[in-house]
C-alpha cells in the first residue's frame, strides 16, 4: 500500500473517526461513570445527586432477591456456557465429517440464532408449560404419568431458561467452531493418520487443542450473553415463579424502573459491569501480551 504522500492527510483519519470516538466516550464511558455516581447517590424515583456513600451496595448485599439473582446467574451462566459450547463443538465435529447436505444442516442448526430471545422465550414458554406443551402432549399420547413441569417449580424454573438459551445459542457456537475446524491444516491430520492415530485421538490431541483461540473468543461471546441476559427471562418466565428466575439484569430493571429505587438499580448495574470486567480484563490482558510478544 502506498504511504500517504501529503502531510494534511495525517489528520484526516483522525477527523473521520472523531465523531464515533466522541459518541463512544459520551454514551458508553460517560454513562458508565454517571451510573457509577448514581449508585452512590440517594436517587429514588428520579436521579438525585446527594452523596450517601456505599449505602446502596449494603442494601444490595442484604437483599434476598439480589442473592437469588446472583445464584441464578452462577447456575445459568455456568450451565449455559458449558452446555452450549459442548453441544456446539459436538455439532461442529459431526458436521465436519463431510456429511451429505451439510449446507442445509448448517442452516437448520444456525437458524435459532436468527430469532430474537423474545421469540425463543415465548415459544419455550408454551413448549414447557405443563398444560400446553410437552407434558400435555405426552399425556395425550397415553403416557398419563408423564411429568415435566419444571417451568412452574421455583427451584427448577432456572433450568428451563438454560434449555431455551442453549437451544438458541449452540448453533451459533457450532458455526464458530466449524469455521475454526475448516482453518486447520489438512496436512497435520494426514500426517497423524499416517502415524496410525485413531480419529477420536486425532480430535482429542490435535484438532481441539488447535482450536484454542476459537474457544476463547466463543467463551467471551457466550459468557457476556449470559451476564446481560434479560429479554429471554422476561419472555420465558418474567422472573417467576415469584422471583425464582431473576437474573441481575431483570433485578436492575425492576428496581430502577418499576420500584423507584434508581440508586439500588445503579448499584446492581455496577456489580454486573464488575462481573463482566472480571472476565474480559484478564482475557484482554493475555491477548495483548501475546500480541506484544509476536
Amino acid at each position: 500500500m502506498p504511504a500517504p504522500s501529503k502531510p494534511q492527510t495525517i489528520w484526516l483519519p483522525k477527523l473521520v473517526l472523531a465523531p464515533s470516538f466522541l459518541l463512544a466516550i459520551l454514551f458508553i464511558y460517560g454513562l458508565m461513570l454517571w451510573n457509577g455516581y448514581l449508585s452512590v447517590s440517594a436517587s429514588r424515583l428520579l436521579p438525585n445527586y446527594e452523596f450517601i456513600g456505599l449505602e446502596n451496595y449494603a442494601d444490595l448485599m442484604a437483599s434476598e432477591r439480589w442473592q437469588v439473582a446472583m445464584r441464578n446467574l452462577l447456575v445459568f451462566g455456568s450451565l449455559f456456557v458449558s452446555l452450549s459450547m459442548a453441544l456446539g463443538l459436538l455439532l461442529a465435529i459431526l458436521l465436519d465429517q463431510r456429511v451429505r447436505a451439510e449446507g442445509l444442516l448448517r442452516s437448520i442448526y444456525l437458524y435459532p440464532m436468527a430469532l430474537s430471545f423474545i421469540v425463543t422465550g415465548t415459544a419455550w414458554k408454551w413448549i414447557l408449560n405443563p398444560g400446553l406443551g410437552l407434558e400435555h402432549l405426552f399425556r395425550q399420547w397415553g403416557f398419563s404419568e408423564a411429568n415435566f413441569d419444571w417451568l412452574v417449580q421455583s427451584d427448577r424454573a432456572i433450568y428451563c431458561v438454560v434449555i431455551a438459551a442453549v437451544w438458541q445459542s449452540s448453533g451459533f457456537v457450532m458455526a464458530l467452531f466449524l469455521a475454526g475446524l475448516r482453518g486447520i491444516d489438512e496436512s497435520i491430520i494426514k500426517a497423524a493418520q499416517v502415524d496410525g492415530a485413531s480419529l477420536p485421538r486425532i480430535y482429542w490431541r490435535i484438532i481441539i487443542p488447535s482450536l484454542r483461540p476459537v474457544f476463547f473468543s466463543t467463551l467471551m461471546v457466550v459468557s457476556h450473553l449470559a451476564i446481560k441476559s434479560f429479554d429471554l427471562v422476561m419472555a420465558l418466565t418474567a422472573g417467576g415463579p415469584g422471583y425464582a428466575t431473576d437474573l441481575p439484569a431483570t433485578f436492575m430493571y425492576t428496581m430502577a424502573f418499576s420500584r423507584g429505587q434508581i440508586g439500588l438499580g445503579a448499584a446492581s448495574a455496577t456489580m454486573m459491569l464488575a462481573t463482566v470486567a472480571a472476565i474480559v480484563v484478564p482475557y484482554l490482558y493475555s491477548e495483548l501480551r501475546q500480541a506484544k510478544k509476536a
Binding site: L45, L46, V152, T237, A238, G240, G242, Y243, A244, S258
Partner: protein, 426 residues
Amino acid sequence: MTSTSFTTKHLARSMARTLALSGLLSLGQHARAGELEVLHWWTSGGEAKAVMSLKNSMQAKGHVWKDYAVAGGAGDAAMTVLKSRVVSGNAPAAAQIKGPALQEWAREGVLENMNDVARAEHWDDLLPPAISNLMKYKGNYIAAPVNVHRVNWLWVNPEVFKKAGAKVPGNWAEFFVAANALKKAGFIALAHGGQNWQDFTTFEAIALGEGGTEFYKKALLQLDPASLKSPTMEHVLNTFRQVKAYTDKNAAGRDWNLATAMVIKGEAGMQLMGDWAKGEFMATGKLPGKDFLCVPSPGSAKAYTFNVDSFALFKVKGQAKQAAQKDLATAIMSPEFQEVFNLNKGSIPVRMGMKMDKFDDCAKASARDFGDSSKAASLLPSVAHGMALPSATEGALKDVVSQFWNDEKMSVQQAQDRLLAAAKTH
C-alpha cells in the same frame, strides 16, 4: 354559545393545527388556545373509548389535545417515559399517576397545586376522605381522581356452581367447602394467574376476610411489626397456602384476563379479581347476575378495597396551557365525564352521590358499598394495586408473598420474618 366565540375558538383551533403541522408545536412557547399533552396508558378497547370522551370534552372547550398513550406493563412503560420527560425538563401537562406515587412525584416538586379548582368545585365534599387524602400533598390537592375500582370481588360462574352443587361462599370456611365440591366435580375451583400482583390480590383478600378491617389497616397499611408477627397473620398465611391447592398448576405467569376466561368458559368456578374483570365477561355478552355473579370476596362484605386512577398536573409554562390544565381538572370531576368514562371503563364514579341508573348491577352494588364503607371507615386502599405503600416497600412485600406462594419449603414463620424485614424497606 354565541357565534363570534365559536369562530374565534374555531380559528384558534385551526391555527394550532397549522402550527402543529409546521412542527412549531414542539417548541411549545407560542401563546394560543391551551395545548394539553396527556400521558396515559389506557389503550385497550373500553379504556381508549373512555379517554376519547375526555378528549372530546377538552376539544369542545377549544383546547388542543395531544394524546401521549404509552402501552404496556400496567403503566411501567408509561412511568419510564414520564421520568425521562420530567428529567429533561419537558413534562407533559397531565399524566396518569396513582396512589402514593403521587406523593413521590410531589416531593420532587414538579406537580401543580390544584387547590383553586378543588375549592371551586367542592372536591372535599364530593370525595370520601380516604381518597381525597391520597390526592393531597401537605394538604394541597395535586391530582384529580377519575374512577374507583373495587378490588375485593369474587367472580362466580353460577352454572359451574350448580353442576357441582356448591354454594356461593360468604366467608373463607365456606370458600373451602365450595372449592372442595368444585374440585370433586372436576372443575378448577379458583382461576388464578401466578404474577406477583395477582398473588397479592389473593393474599390481601384473605387478610381482609379472615383478619378484618382493623387487622388489614394495622398489618398491611401501617406495617405494624406486632401485627405482622401475630397469630392472625400466621392464620392468614396458612389459609393463603391452602388456597393454592385449589388453583391449577399452569397458573404460573398467566395473565389475569386469561384466568377470567377460564371462569367465562366454565373451566373454573371462581376468580378473585378487581372489577376490571367485568369487562371480560361483558365482552362475551354475559350478563351480571345471570351468567356470572359478582360477590364481595369471602368475609369482606362490609369492607371495600379500592384502586383509584388519577391524573396529576405537571408545572407548565404559559397561561393558555395552565388554563387548559384547570379545565382538564374541572372536566375530570364533572358528573358527565365521570359517568361516560366509568361506563366505558367498568369502574364506578369516584364522585359520590351520582345517579347510577345507567350502570349494571355489579357497579350499582359497588357504588352502594363504596358509600357505606366510607361511612364505616372500612374503605381501604389496595396494597396489591399500588394504593397504599411506597413502591419499594410494596415491591418487597409482594416478593415475599409470591415467594411463599410458590415455594412450598418456606415455612409460615420464615414468611412472617421476611414480611417484617420487607416492611422496613424504605
